[in-house]
């Protein structure tokens, strides 16, 4: 189980994440949603060890991940929000680099890369530099890199960004399959329809704080709303979208 306890991050006095706590059990997908700047990506980066928390801790199977950060990192797969990749490496080379960094054998790397690239229809472009890839192709490379090490915990930060409809459906099914195999998934996204469909529980973050954290069914009942979008809107909305759009139109005309 992954457990996050009172995770807090301050940047020069600004509170980006404020005492966030949750857990993910094996076979569970936790939807992690919130408006822009809510602290979603910061939380994910603290979990994987890219950022040091100002307070709080992350526990994996009951032990602080700091006790064996390397061991923890070898069990996770991460898809970052932005497809930052080395542009001069080909997709194949990038995956090879990832596999080697994970200490995988050459034979295993080769087999898995070929399979993943074929499954994602990237085989023909495997030797093309990443700089020539479309956003969706880069996202497929990131997904392949995350899955390459057969991780127990997957942290997806907007994994569907840039993907075509078919691949999106495949990835959704894939996430469900991964959860069915007992893997833990943290799914951070703005696409609430997908979150609603695949996540067992959802955590809504607003200005770094947990605004709601429960199963979608319970949230619907508690908040007397029919959809996650309505719940989200209720909890995070500060301005009237209609009025805001009107203001944009006014400024354009001015």
């Amino acid at each position: 189980m992954l457990e996050v306890r009172g995770l807090t991050k301050r940047y020069a006095g600004t509170l980006a994440v404020d005492h966030v706590s949750f857990h993910i059990s094996p076979g569970e997908i936790l939807g992690y949603v919130g408006p822009n700047g809510a602290g979603k990506s910061t939380t994910v980066k603290m979990i994987i060890g890219l950022l040091d928390p100002s307070e709080g801790m992350v526990l994996f199977k009951g032990r602080s991940v700091l006790e064996d950060l390397a061991g923890f990192q070898s069990r996770i797969g991460y898809v970052p929000e932005e497809p930052y990749l080395y542009p001069y490496l080909s997709g194949y080379e990038y995956l090879e680099l990832t596999g080697r960094l994970r200490g995988m054998s050459a034979a295993s790397i080769e087999t898995k890369i070929e399979e993943f690239l074929r499954l994602f229809s990237l085989w023909d472009d495997r030797h093309t530099p990443v700089s020539s890839y479309s956003k969706g192709m880069r996202q497929k490379i990131l997904l392949s890199a995350a899955l390459l090490g057969n991780p127990q915990l997957l942290l997806f930060d907007e994994p569907l960004s840039g993907l075509d409809v078919t691949t999106m459906m495949v990835v959704r099914e894939l996430m469900a399959g991964l959860a069915a195999q007992g893997r833990m998934i943290l799914y951070s996204s703005h696409v609430l329809e997908v979150v609603e469909k695949i996540c067992s529980r959802v955590l809504i973050l607003n200005k770094g704080r947990v605004a709601a954290h429960d199963s979608i069914q319970n949230l619907r009942e508690t908040m007397h709303q029919s959809s996650l979008e309505a719940i989200f809107s209720d909890l995070t909305r500060e301005t009237d979208p209609h009025a805001l759009a009107g203001r944009f139109l006014e400024v354009m005309r001015s």
């Binding site: 890219l50 040091d52 070898s74 930052y84 080395y86 680099l97 030797h127 530099p129 020539s132």
Partner: protein, 590 residues
């Protein structure tokens, strides 16, 4: 200032944009970082330029006064020509280096076209604005470069034996020669790039362009180092210029000066005409190539085929010989790929390689190792002795510099995620890579020559000492290296350029030659070898152990904080957390 802030026409705004970012290219990590490098370059060039004024040089004071006192003008005029050629070499090389520095800004790039694609700007306007920016930049550069020589040279070269004693005439002739030489070099380089852009296949252009850039940088350095020798040409050599110098651009423009001052020698008149034709040719060719490039810009810049790698699956690489551990292999392959394919890294590394080639060729010419056949044996001995250490002394700091510069900084998250798993293995890979790239090749190349020249035992003794000297230089340079190559942010200008150049000068002019003499002696006398060998290996071992202390324990650095890291050492940094909360590491970015 308010006027400058006002929005003007598109052409004006585009020209201003291009001019403002003329130096912001692959050499700098972010906008405006070139200023410190420029300040350093000026600080370096000013004393060099002052040394050209003989009256300011303690060794050369009274030089022209003595020549003016001679009964005939020949020696005075020959000295003026030699000095003039020297000045023109310096001006041309400096202009050429700056033109190479802004190489990527000389023509519109595909990025310019794509970035401005959504705006109401036509390709014609982009090309016109870029051409204007290049022309304004060239004008300012050439004028700035020639201001001091135009004022100082007439005073330096004046006197009873000067062809035209008028200060105004001398200043005008000097200005024409200097401006002509600088403009020719600048526009010749612009035209050369235009030719590459138009003639090279679109998918080869980027790679070819970097090779040409590096080659020219080496050539500039090679020419620059000849400056001091040229100034000391005796009368006999100046008389022989028509035999060897009629295709030197600087001689053409020295001819412009001579001709304008009234020297009607047919050779100098011909040279002046050649200079005028060359300059006009370079400018016309630049304009023509801009026009052609504009006409074909879509095919050249936007419709070039997407780069595709080789379809051949690589099963084995020589790098696999350096390590078997997959984590080390990961770093070795990453480093090799970055050095070979990342434009910035490749360009800077090739500049260092070009630099070292220039130094080796120059030193060998000065020593007589190349050209003088009767000294061939001694010359080859010089190469075997001097080259390995000189190569190490330039390439190791060069590789360290290149590895300090990030390649796609935000992509380093992949390493940060896996750092704890393989930090020690990664650092071992860096060691091996550096040895394989900057130390091993020159020894592998020269060991057979050394054996042929000295026999097995002396050659082995010499090579052993040289290798340990190179490894010691490596240990000194990498004593506090605490980052994965190409993944840490970089803050340039931490050390003034003058200090860097003086450091190279001291290393190549004093340390390496002295050490080479000792090594040569130790190679021939076994007893000396057994004195020098323990000293060198002991120094290397001490430094090696000190560098390895804390190896793989301290977290790697991903941000150049500007601290004096080179002085700290790994032990002091142990336990220090890397500054993670940075823009590069990802701040509040949900």
């Amino acid at each position: 200032m308010t006027t400058l802030r006002e929005t003007r026409g598109r052409k004006y705004e585009l020209t201003r944009h291009f001019l403002r970012h003329m130096f912001d290219n692959e050499w700098s990590a972010s906008t405006g970082q070139w200023q410190s490098a420029a300040a350093g370059l000026i600080a370096l060039l000013v004393p060099v330029a002052m040394l050209l004024v003989r009256e300011l040089d303690p060794m050369g004071q009274g030089y022209y006064r003595r020549l003016l006192a001679l009964p005939t003008p020949e020696r005075f005029r020959a000295a003026v020509i030699a000095d003039e050629v020297g000045i023109l070499i310096l001006l041309s090389v400096a202009t050429g280096v700056i033109a190479l520095f802004v190489w990527q800004s000389l023509y519109p790039s595909s990025r310019d076209c794509l970035a401005l694609a959504g705006l109401p700007v036509r390709p014609r306007q982009i090309f016109a604005a870029r051409l204007w920016a290049v022309a304004i930049f060239a004008g300012a550069l050439v004028a700035g470069m020639n201001l001091l020589p135009t004022l100082v040279a007439p005073a330096e070269f004046g006197g009873r034996w000067s062809i035209d004693p008028s200060w105004i005439a001398a200043a005008g002739a000097q200005a024409a020669a200097g401006i002509g030489a600088c403009s020719f070099i600048f526009f010749a380089l612009v035209a050369l790039q235009g030719l590459l852009l138009n003639l090279a296949p679109a998918r080869w252009y980027a790679r070819l362009s970097v090779w040409v850039q590096a080659l020219l940088a080496g050539a500039m350095l090679l020419a620059g180092l000849r400056l001091w020798e040229v100034r000391e040409w005796p009368l006999e050599t100046v008389r022989r210029i028509p035999e060897f110098g009629s295709w030197w651009p600087v001689v053409w423009f020295a001819g412009v000066r001579e001709h304008l001052l009234g020297n009607h020698d047919p050779f100098w008149t011909a040279m002046a005409a050649r200079g005028a034709w060359a300059l006009s040719g370079a400018v016309v060719l630049t304009l023509a190539l801009y026009l052609v490039s504009y006409r074909r810009y879509r095919r050249l810049l936007l419709e070039g085929p997407a780069r595709r790698g080789s379809s051949r699956v690589r099963r084995w690489s020589p790098l696999d010989l350096l390590a078997r551990d997959p984590r080390q292999q990961a770093i070795l392959h990453f480093m090799a790929a970055t050095l070979a394919r990342s434009r910035t890294q490749r360009a800077i590394w090739l500049a260092y390689v070009g630099g070292v080639a220039a130094i080796l060729i120059n030193s060998s010419i000065v020593d007589g190792a190349i050209w003088i056949s009767r000294r061939r044996q001694a010359g080859i001995e010089f190469m075997v002795l001097f080259w390995p250490l000189a190569c190490t002394a330039v390439l190791l700091p060069g590789l360290r510099h290149v590895m300090s510069i990030p390649a796609e900084l935000r992509a380093h998250w992949i390493f940060r995620m896996h750092e704890a798993e393989g930090r020690a293995a990664w650092m071992r890979a860096v060691e091996r890579f550096t040895a394989a790239y900057a130390i091993a090749p020159i020894y592998l190349l020269l060991i057979p020559v050394s054996i042929h020249l000295h026999g097995w035992m002396p050659a082995t003794r010499m090579t052993l000492l040289q290798v340990f000297a190179s490894l010691t230089i490596f240990e000194v340079l990498f004593q506090s290296w605490q980052q994965l190559p190409f993944t840490c942010s970089y803050r340039p200008g931490k050390r003034p350029l003058v200090v860097i150049v003086l450091g190279y000068g001291a290393m190549l002019g004093a340390v390496v030659p002295v050490l080479s003499i000792y090594i040569a002696a130790a190679g021939k006398a076994a007893i000396l070898f057994w004195i020098l060998f323990p000293m060198l290996t002991g120094t290397w071992l001490k430094l090696h152990l000190s560098r390895r202390d804390g190896w793989g324990e301290a977290p790697l650095l991903y941000e150049d904080t500007g601290d004096d890291v080179p002085d700290m050492g790994i032990r002091e940094m142990r336990g220090r957390r890397p500054p993670l909360e940075t823009a590069s590491g990802g701040a509040i970015s949900s």
